[in-house]
């Protein structure tokens, strides 16, 4: 994760290999970064171009990525953003909302500030244009296949609209809008992201249908009850669902009951945590020799980062398995399910497990 360099054009790579003779033990990038941080391909970086408010508690960040970035993501994928907060880098995942195209030099994400959240509030309200952030390559399998399926259904709540927005924008831009239904639920019109743009899309594309549900007025969406009414032919559609845990679970049930599980795609933004703040224990990191005391609601990933260890990670939500490490000894609890795992060189996801007593991780 640390030493592998992003791919560069072959000519540039040769030049850099030659320059490395002069800069060893550093890389030429380390010197270039002194002039312009974006010239270093050692770590992916981006400069904040603008932060434009969308609603009262959300904003769209336009980011100009530096050397090594390729505008090759699939619409619907997310990136990791690492921003320094009080001197420490904090990482979170955000769906790209920009259209993947080679004819641009920026990307966008749209962030909703979570109450008591660690980083999202800082991204929405605390980032000056010009700030340099770290980026992790686009990832995720919640994306629109090419060519787009003839009939699509999107069900989203709140900021879960973001990956779908990237998909809709891409189909709009490429003139490939197929038969699309979007069912989107938010508390009220003021809290709705991209409202004007979605109306525009609806007005321009006869094949795009939009159902807005304002839960303060209309109540929450119940897929079991409302789906048939909102989209009678849902069984014939490829479906993408992104939103709260309960929505995703319900969708899983409904599609499974109808024997349609393969046509359902889900994206999770946050996991409800079952952790117990009083339990926990000491986590020892055997290779680096550090140990930290944590409560039972702090993930092993967070505990390691707090100790200053460069922990591997991707989505930080239990999806991608980038964070998997051997649990040599002790016991950990999965914060999503409450299931416990025992040590003995078992591989566990550090981003969704917390210690249940003392444990040892091999890193």
């Amino acid at each position: 994760m640390i030493t592998s360099l992003p791919s560069l054009p072959i000519g540039l790579r040769r030049l850099r290999d030659a320059a490395e003779r002069l800069t060893t033990p550093l890389l030429p990038d380390d010197y270039l970064a002194m002039i312009n941080p974006l010239w270093s391909a050692r770590e992916l970086r981006g400069r904040i171009v603008s932060v434009v408010p969308e609603t009262a508690d959300s904003a769209t960040l336009t980011i100009a990525p530096g050397a090594g970035w390729r505008f090759e993501h699939r619409p619907g994928q997310y990136v990791g953003i690492g921003a320094a907060l009080h001197g420490r880098f904090r990482w979170r995942s955000y769906s790209l909302t920009s259209v993947p195209t080679a004819r641009t030099d920026t990307l966008t994400i749209t962030v909703k500030a979570m109450p008591e959240g660690m980083l999202s509030g800082h991204l929405v309200r605390g980032l000056e244009p010009g700030t340099v952030v770290r980026l992790a390559r686009p990832e995720g399998d919640f994306f629109l296949p090419e060519p787009p399926p003839p009939r699509l259904l999107f069900i989203t709540t709140g900021s879960g609209i973001t990956p779908v927005m990237a998909i809709l924008r891409t189909m709009d831009r490429r003139g490939s809008m197929t038969d699309v239904v979007l069912v989107h639920s938010v508390p009220d019109p003021e809290a709705m992201l991209f409202r004007a743009e979605l109306h525009d899309l609806r007005d321009h594309h006869p094949s795009f249908r939009l159902h807005e549900q304002f839960s303060r007025r209309d109540g929450r969406i119940s897929l079991t009850h409302d789906l048939q009414r909102l989209c009678p032919d849902w069984r014939e559609r490829q479906a993408w669902v992104c939103g709260t845990d309960s929505l995703l679970e319900e969708a899983g049930r409904v599609w499974a009951d109808a024997n349609r599980a393969p046509s359902l795609h889900r994206e999770k933004f946050a996991s409800a945590r079952i952790g117990n703040a009083s339990a926990g224990g000491s986590v020892r990191f055997s290779t680096s020799g550090f140990a930290v005391e944590t409560d039972g609601a702090t993930t092993l990933l967070e505990a390691g980062e707090r100790a200053g260890i460069l922990m591997p990670f991707g989505c930080r939500m239990g999806i991608c398995r980038t964070c998997v490490l051997p649990l040599t000894a002790g016991r950990v609890r999965d914060l999503r399910t409450g299931t416990e795992h025992e040590g003995g060189h078992q591989m566990i996801q550090t981003c969704i497990n917390a210690p249940a007593g003392d444990c040892v991780l091999d890193i």
Partner: protein, 388 residues
């Protein structure tokens, strides 16, 4: 954590002497209770700083790195025209200072993990490699683990005299020591090679404590690194200078040697001057956290001087603070030094400190004196060395 400033402490001198002689040695005459209270006070000093780390600290190390890279770039650029003597002088000076900063305030401290808390993969103990011939990995093991754990324990701390030099009368004298003033000079000039060879722990291989296969792999890694360093300093940059190749080559040799001599000086002043004490292995038996702290204080010596001296020594001028809290960012040592000194004074622990010329003269005298057998009575853990 108890707050050191709200708890009123009676002045304690070396009054309370417990009966067990081993306790007497490790605890500098303090009772077990006092030792644990001392540990709590030092823990509190550490916790206060570590809880306060933030953007200003992160800015500090990034600024030092930027200055260092700027100096190195500027120095190397000047050397391109080093046929012009003032350019040679300025270029060599800038390069030497850059190399010193790189090794001391940046490399040594980053490799200690002092900046790991930032979560920045580019300034992290696991990814950093320094501008010296010894690969960072071997150094981290022999320095961070062995030396910082077994500070100044004869027979355990291999830094004590770097295995070859007799710095303490308790080390048995051998005829080879007659030449130690000479080979200490050699070690000073080629310090980075000395460290590299030392990190291979060949003495352990000879004793059968370390597999030869591992040593061979490490020698391979060392050779790779030496080659890269040589190509950079002694081939590539001189060639780039065209007609100024010879003067650039000489400048690079001078810069590396200056860095070596400086590093050697600072490091020898950290542990071997008069006042810094050594210990025997039985100090380790049942050593409490407080006992460990005491050993760090007694075994280390600070250098007094202006902020520039602290920067150029990588803050090893605050050797005592560094040994108490090796993973605390070095920019914070100056601010805690008065507190540590005050705590030491209250518990009657000698806090050794002096100017660089004075301390270094003492070190050289010791090396000269101990080249001969005997050397006075320097009892492990005793009062200030009686042999100077």
């Amino acid at each position: 954590m108890p707050n050191s400033r709200t708890v009123s402490q009676p002045a304690i001198t070396q009054a309370v002497v417990t009966a067990r002689s081993s306790t007497l040695r490790t605890t500098a005459g303090l009772s077990e209770f006092e030792v644990s209270r001392l540990a709590a006070e030092l823990d509190a000093i550490r916790a206060e700083v570590m809880g306060d780390l933030g953007a200003a600290d992160a800015d500090y190390i990034r600024r030092v790195i930027a200055v260092q890279r700027g100096l190195e770039f500027g120095g190397r650029a000047l050397l391109m025209v080093s046929l012009f003597p003032p350019a040679w002088l300025a270029g060599t000076g800038a390069l030497a200072v850059a190399k010193i900063l790189e090794n001391m305030e940046i490399g040594h401290n980053v490799l200690h993990g002092q900046w790991d808390w930032m979560g920045d993969p580019e300034i992290h103990s696991t990814t950093w490699e320094w501008d010296a011939v010894s690969p960072a990995a071997g150094w981290k093991r022999s320095h961070n683990v062995v030396h910082h754990t077994y500070t100044n324990i004869l027979g355990k701390d291999r830094d004590l005299g770097y295995s070859a030099i007799r710095v303490d009368p308790a080390q048995p004298w051998k005829p080879i020591h007659l030449f130690q003033p000479l080979y200490n000079l050699g070690l000073s000039l080629g310090f980075e090679y000395g460290i590299a060879i030392y990190d291979l722990e060949l003495d352990k291989v000879a004793a059968g404590d370390k597999p030869w296969s591992q040593a061979r792999a490490e020698i391979g890694g060392l050779w790779q690194k030496i080659r890269r360093q040589w190509i950079k300093d002694y081939v590539a940059f001189p060639l780039l200078s065209g007609p100024a190749a010879p003067t650039t080559l000489v400048a690079n040799v001078v810069a590396n040697v200056a860095r070596n001599v400086w590093g050697h000086t600072v490091i020898f002043c950290g542990h071997f001057p008069a006042g810094a004490q050594t210990f025997t292995e039985d100090q380790l038996v049942d050593e409490s956290p407080g006992g460990w702290y005491i050993r760090q204080v007694l075994g280390s010596a600070n250098l007094d001087g202006p902020p520039l001296l602290h920067l150029m020594t990588g803050n090893l001028s605050h050797q005592i603070e560094h040994h108490l809290f090796p993973d605390m960012p070095s920019n914070r040592y100056a601010e805690i030094a008065p507190k540590v000194r005050e705590v030491c004074a209250r518990y009657g622990l000698p806090y050794t400190s002096g100017s660089l010329p004075r301390q270094y003269a003492g070190v050289l005298l010791t090396i000269a004196r101990l080249a001969l057998p005997g050397g006075g009575r320097r009892v492990a853990g005793g009062e200030n060395a009686g042999w100077m």
